[in-house]
């Protein structure tokens, strides 16, 4: 295809990406600031990272956040994959319209509504607020994202492989585990990672459903930010950004390698 980038295209890309990345870079840069004033540069220092690791309440919250994210992302991956299979493979079942509504609505629904409604539900059934309520709430939200990611993979892949396995006498479960699952595995991994990040990131739903026993990192960061800027928050953010960047880059490299090797095999 014969497409050329005009000067206007290049300018909008440069300005667009600068707008997206400069704030994050500045935030990371100022986490190495020696001054307590977040906006005045006072020399290079890693003192805030030290202060961060000595802050036990923050470390405790980070641990809760990781456990919630892991557990809810695992549950969401199973439920989301089942929902995606239901939508693509078991086409017509009673109440399908309601089901697609329940899958797509939580993704755009303002978080304040989802958070409040889940909390009122937990109170109504007399379920103590804490670790488990946050986990269940996050599972409900993130399984919808997993569904969409896995569903789009299920829509595009070659059904004839599954049909061949069935024709050769493989029972449905065996066909699923030896043919379908390996084919959709990359999208399941992507869905899990998405669910994990969304859970780690969530402030609003966690605030409604957190109890005295369990506070998550975003809740801690939010209350610190409300009191004013703090270099410790910058340091915590820089670490989170570093982990996410490494994760995304390695996932991209892995998927690129698998695409390359599958292409090579195809030739």
């Amino acid at each position: 295809m014969n497409r050329r980038l005009s000067a206007f295209n290049v300018t909008s890309l440069v300005i667009g990406f600068a707008f997206l990345y400069l704030p994050i870079l500045l935030l990371v840069l100022y986490s190495f600031n020696a001054s307590r004033l977040v906006t005045v540069w006072g020399g290079f220092s890693t003192q805030w990272y030290g202060a961060l690791f000595r802050n036990e309440a923050l470390m405790e919250a980070a641990w809760v956040t990781l456990r919630v994210a892991f557990l809810s992302a695992t549950l969401a991956t199973v439920l989301g994959t089942l929902a995606a299979l239901a939508l693509t493979r078991y086409g017509r079942f009673p109440g399908r319209t309601l089901f697609t509504g329940m899958v797509y609505a939580p993704m755009v629904m303002p978080e304040v509504i989802t958070g409040l409604s889940l909390l009122l539900f937990f109170v109504a059934v007399d379920f103590d607020r804490g670790f488990w309520t946050i986990t269940l709430a996050h599972t409900t939200l993130t399984m919808c994202f997993v569904t969409v990611v896995v569903q789009s993979r299920l829509m595009t892949f070659d059904r004839s492989l599954e049909e061949a396995a069935m024709d050769l006498g493989a029972p449905p479960l065996r066909t699923f585990f030896s043919v379908t699952l390996p084919l959709i595995a990359p999208s399941i991994v992507a869905g899990f990672l998405l669910a994990f990040t969304l859970s780690m990131d969530d402030l609003v739903i966690a605030s409604f459903n957190a109890g005295p026993g369990a506070t998550t990192l975003p809740i801690k960061i939010y209350s610190a930010v409300r009191l004013g800027l703090s270099p410790e928050v910058n340091a915590a953010s820089a670490i989170l950004i570093g982990i996410v960047t490494l994760g995304v880059i390695s996932a991209t490299l892995l998927s690129k390698r698998s695409i390359l090797s599958s292409r090579r095999n195809a030739h």
Binding site: M1, N2, R3, L5, F8, L13, G16, L20, P23, I24, L26, L27, Y30, V38, T39, L79, G80, L82, A83, A86, Y90, F99, T100, G101, M102, V103, Y104, A105, V108, M109, P110, V112, I113, L116, S117, L118, L120, F121, A137, T139, T140, M143, T147, V148, S152, T156, P171, P172, M200, D201, L203, V204, I221, Y222, V225, L229, V233, S237, I241, G247
Partner: protein, 301 residues
């Protein structure tokens, strides 16, 4: 053979049933509870509302329901103003997002093919870093003694410190910044598939670039424009974090109102009524979004 058909029947039933049941219990039922509590009276107790449901007393159940909270919402013009200003802020932000996002998506779609996957990844990467942290980053930039003021004063563009933080302008900047990937990606998806020969034909026939943009590019990009706009508009109406951290005390938004009724005033029934109000505003865009999304996924080859 009998066994196998039974097995198939069983999986065909179970696969949809498990996620269906989960969403039913943890998504649908909670909504009904919000609706119920929005119709009950607050109580100074834990939990701070009067239960209105007794199985033994159906008549009493309907008798105890009242529209007091909704009457309050109508009478106190605070909620009316908050609703209007949420919808206005979300609509203006969506327009700004289109203006900012379209040139970026267009540039990405015209970039050489080998760079496109990288550009898409670069748009998505900030989305993987915490929303809260990205908004927090703007507080340091927009503060009166912040980085934007320092830069602009050093360049000599301004002589007085900028006072943008805690204004509506800061809220617009925050929403555009945080939601940009949601606008760019659907736009890019439609623009990338566009057939360039249409534009060439229009130019050959003497159309100006501006005119072919409006008569060819925009109509062809319409599915992306609609999907991106809904994806930004719906959550922006109920946004809480951005107006709370970047907006001032006069920035009224309904999501923020719900938060303060719940956490500061501890009036759960009123907070539920505000949630129902927000849902009524959003039900039409959400239904349209669901149809657009279901059609998009199912239209794939």
């Amino acid at each position: 053979m009998m066994e196998r058909t039974l097995m198939r029947r069983l999986t065909a039933g179970l696969v949809p049933a498990v996620p269906y049941l989960w969403l039913g219990v943890l998504f649908l039922v909670p909504f009904l509870i919000v609706l119920k509590i929005s119709l009950s009276d607050p109580a100074v107790a834990q939990p701070p509302y009067k239960p209105v449901f007794e199985w033994s007393d159906i008549a009493g159940f309907f008798g105890a329901l009242d529209f007091e909270n909704f009457i309050l919402l109508v009478e106190d013009d605070l909620y009316f103003r908050a609703t209007l200003s949420s919808v206005r802020i979300a609509a203006v932000s969506t327009l700004l997002l289109l203006l900012v996002g379209f040139p970026i998506a267009y540039g990405m779609a015209r970039a050489p093919e080998r760079y496109r996957a990288l550009l898409v990844a670069a748009i998505i990467l900030p989305f993987w870093t915490s929303f809260l942290i990205r908004i927090y980053a703007w507080v340091a930039i927009l503060k009166p003694e912040g980085l934007l003021t320092q830069v602009l004063m050093a360049v000599g563009l301004i002589s007085e410190p900028l006072d943008i933080l805690n204004t509506e302008t800061a809220v617009y900047i925050g929403i555009v910044y945080a939601y940009l990937p949601f606008m760019v990606l659907p736009l890019y998806a439609t623009l990338e598939k566009m057939d360039d020969t249409l534009l060439e034909a229009a130019l050959d026939l003497g159309s100006t670039p501006w005119r072919s943009f409006w008569t060819i590019t925009v109509p062809l990009a319409m599915p992306g424009i609609i999907a991106g706009s809904l994806l930004c508009f719906i959550p922006a109406v109920g946004e809480f974090v951005i107006p709370d951290l970047l907006g001032g005390s006069e920035t009224l938004m309904i999501g923020r109102q719900l938060w303060s009724e719940f956490f500061s005033n501890r009036d759960w029934p009123l907070a539920s009524a505000v949630a129902i109000l927000l849902l009524i505003i959003l039900v039409v865009p959400i239904v349209i979004y669901r149809d657009v999304e279901a059609r998009r996924v199912e239209a794939r080859p």
